[in-house]
């Protein structure tokens, strides 16, 4: 028995070895190095020099740090729920029994397959305050659209709206969750004379709550790291730094200003924020998330 166990453990070790190496090299080492660098004056061209907590102290005083943090929080607070609602709604729609589902699913997923950078350029045109299609459409129903791209009040809302096109991934995961809901539960609800809304509210949502939690956590991690679209659409976070996000400032510090120690300190603060938010989500969800039979 012990021999068998030992054999199994050896096999397991061999099977897991890629990840053990990967974890050590691509995660554990960089994480430790990153902590160390965050207490150093460092750029790749120079050796790290220990400067204590100076990077963190400077960060606390750095108004741009706070600005990018609040921009990022704004984006996450609006884009995350919006994305979740849209993704769940689309998944619910796609879970009905109508013809041509294969087409619809593909259509909704399409934007996730087009390179984000080329989408960003399209959005620059669509949201142009003077001649963009969005304002043309708003004008059609008698609303004078704002200057989405050059008005600091509207540039972030524009980005939030844009993020909706990228819900394909989350939508597919919800859809998978929906297909896992036992049909008998709906049949039982039908017998009780439940309306469609009641069924959604009392059967569907509780049944897919683990998926919602999963997507919520992945969403927090993703939205807090928003980079590509604003980087391409708004160089330097213009206008007036209204679209200057955390990861953009971190990138600038690391690779443009050659302040890599400072960038590492920023990275660690971001990690802690994500950690805390994830803990909170897990704690709050304890009561509401329903884990099947297990």
């Amino acid at each position: 028995m012990t021999l068998k166990r030992r054999k199994e453990a050896t096999a397991a070790f061999l099977f897991a070895s890629p990840w053990l190496i990967g974890f050590a090299v691509f995660l554990a080492y960089p994480l430790c190095a990153s902590i160390y660098y965050s207490f150093c004056d460092y750029s790749v061209l120079k050796l790290p020099v220990w400067i204590g907590t100076r990077n963190y102290e400077n960060l606390m005083r750095d108004e741009i740090f706070w600005k990018t943090l609040s921009n990022t929080a704004y984006y996450a607070i609006f884009a995350l729920p919006l994305g979740m609602v849209v993704a769940i709604s689309l998944a619910l729609l796609l879970n009905t029994k109508v013809k041509g589902l294969a087409f619809y699913r593909t259509f909704f997923f399409l934007p996730s397959l087009v390179p984000m950078v080329s989408l960003a350029v399209l959005w620059l045109w669509m949201f142009n305050g003077e001649s963009g299609l969005v304002n043309a459409a708003l004008g059609g129903i008698g609303i004078k659209g704002p200057n989405w791209l050059s008005d600091p009040e509207w540039s972030k809302p524009a980005l939030v709206l844009l993020s909706v096109w990228g819900v394909g991934n989350a939508m597919v995961i919800y859809l998978a969750g929906l297909q896992d809901v036992p049909v008998q539960l709906y049949e039982a609800a039908d017998l009780d004379g439940a309306t469609a809304w009641q069924k959604t509210r009392n059967v569907t949502l509780p049944m897919i709550s683990p998926v919602i939690l999963f997507n919520l956590i992945m969403g927090i991690i993703g939205t807090l790291q928003v980079f590509t679209v604003p980087y391409v659409m708004f160089p330097g976070g213009s206008p007036a730094r209204s679209t200057y996000f955390y990861t953009m400032y971190l990138f600038d510090n690391a690779f443009r200003y050659q302040k890599m120690g400072y960038a590492c300190a920023m990275g660690w603060i971001m990690f802690l924020i994500i950690l805390v938010l994830t803990m909170i989500s897990l704690r709050l969800s304890e009561k509401h998330v329903h884990y099947g039979g297990s």
């Binding site: 061209l45 142009n128 330097g236 007036a240 443009r256």
Partner: protein, 448 residues
Amino acid sequence: MNPRAIGTIGLAAVVVGTALYGERITTPEVKPGPVRITYWEKWTGFEGDAMRAVVDAFNKKQSEVFVELLTVSGIQDKTLLATSGGNPPDVAGLYGPNVAQYADSRAILPLDEFCAEAGLSRDSYIPCYWDIGFYKGHVWALPSTPASTALHYNKKMLREAGYDPDRPPRTFEELDAMAAKMTVREGGRKDGRIVRSGFLPNEPGWWNWSWGSFFGGKLWDGESKITVDTPEYIRAYKWIRSYSEKYGAGDLQNFRSGFGNFSSPQNAFMSEKVAMLIQGVWMYNFISQFAPKLEWGAAPFPYPADRPDLERSTLVDLDVLVIPKGAKHPKEAFKFIRYVQSQEGMELLCLGQRKHSPLATSSAEFYAKHPNPYIKLFTELAKSKNSISPPQLGIWPEYEAELNNAFDEVYLMKKTPEEAVAYVKARMQPILDDYLLKQRLREEAEKR
């Protein structure tokens, strides 16, 4: 063998093949013959063509060095990344304002010995261009193509507004007055949207940081103090704000968001939406390409009426050639740079890019062949004592970002000029202190 095994082996072969192919793409070829050096160039289009012609001429002229030109975008960041990654090109075509940051980071090699050997000195150039590559007592970079800027104006629009088309504004006061008269609102109503403008401080918006210098301000004292909070700078930002006050920040934004791409016939100046703007010597090329019928002229940019000493202020910009640290063939790299500094190489390049030459003298043939009717003006402006170039500061990228942001906030009326300037000062001074301190500690450590 069962089909599954065959399939697996086939897939494995595909993966291995792809990996090897990928390796081949990213490994530079080694060929026998002359020493091959890589040169990173930032320009595409006709400007890139001009550089390629110079490279070809050099490759043909001698047989020891072969230069391979690669077009790289975002070159200032990429070269820094490549140098820190230990994989830099032999020659990089950077922008002039990058020199200080690169030199301080020890990312480029000093060229003093090479220059002495080749007999290149300040006397060989229009001084302002040599100075851009000269930092802390060393030569770090030599010119490729230079530029100076001037007021570009639309003669037809001047005429239509009742002005003499050959008498562009000379002072900021004239500029503002003429701009006001040339600005047209839809239907002539006061609340109509702007359809045409005389002048906008942020068109093309490439040098929003520089207006203070046109009013006589300096960005730092050259030693340790950020001097952006001086009356000259406040005056400049007040002037910027006066446009938002006069025309409405929202209206100006609306108007500007309708402009097309710079390099297109929808360009604001070429589509006659803006009558006057600051532009560089290259503007001629775009006009001749996209709006050949445009009636335009160029003149020295205006100066404040009470500061005649600031007459003929001009922004000077320079593309430079540097040898990154870690370059495999610095000697051969300099051979190529040296060729570009020769009158033959330089005039071939500058004529191709339709700019003026940064060398102290230009041949008569150069001017004869040059298509830009104002080329002598740009050469003369570069020699002006009031040439403006970004300060040689290692923190310039950050400082510039800060100044551009201050421009935005004043232009959008989010901050008063005084607030904006005080903010920049308060933010940049500690960053500069920190930078200078670390720089000094490092230099002392290096000496030891």
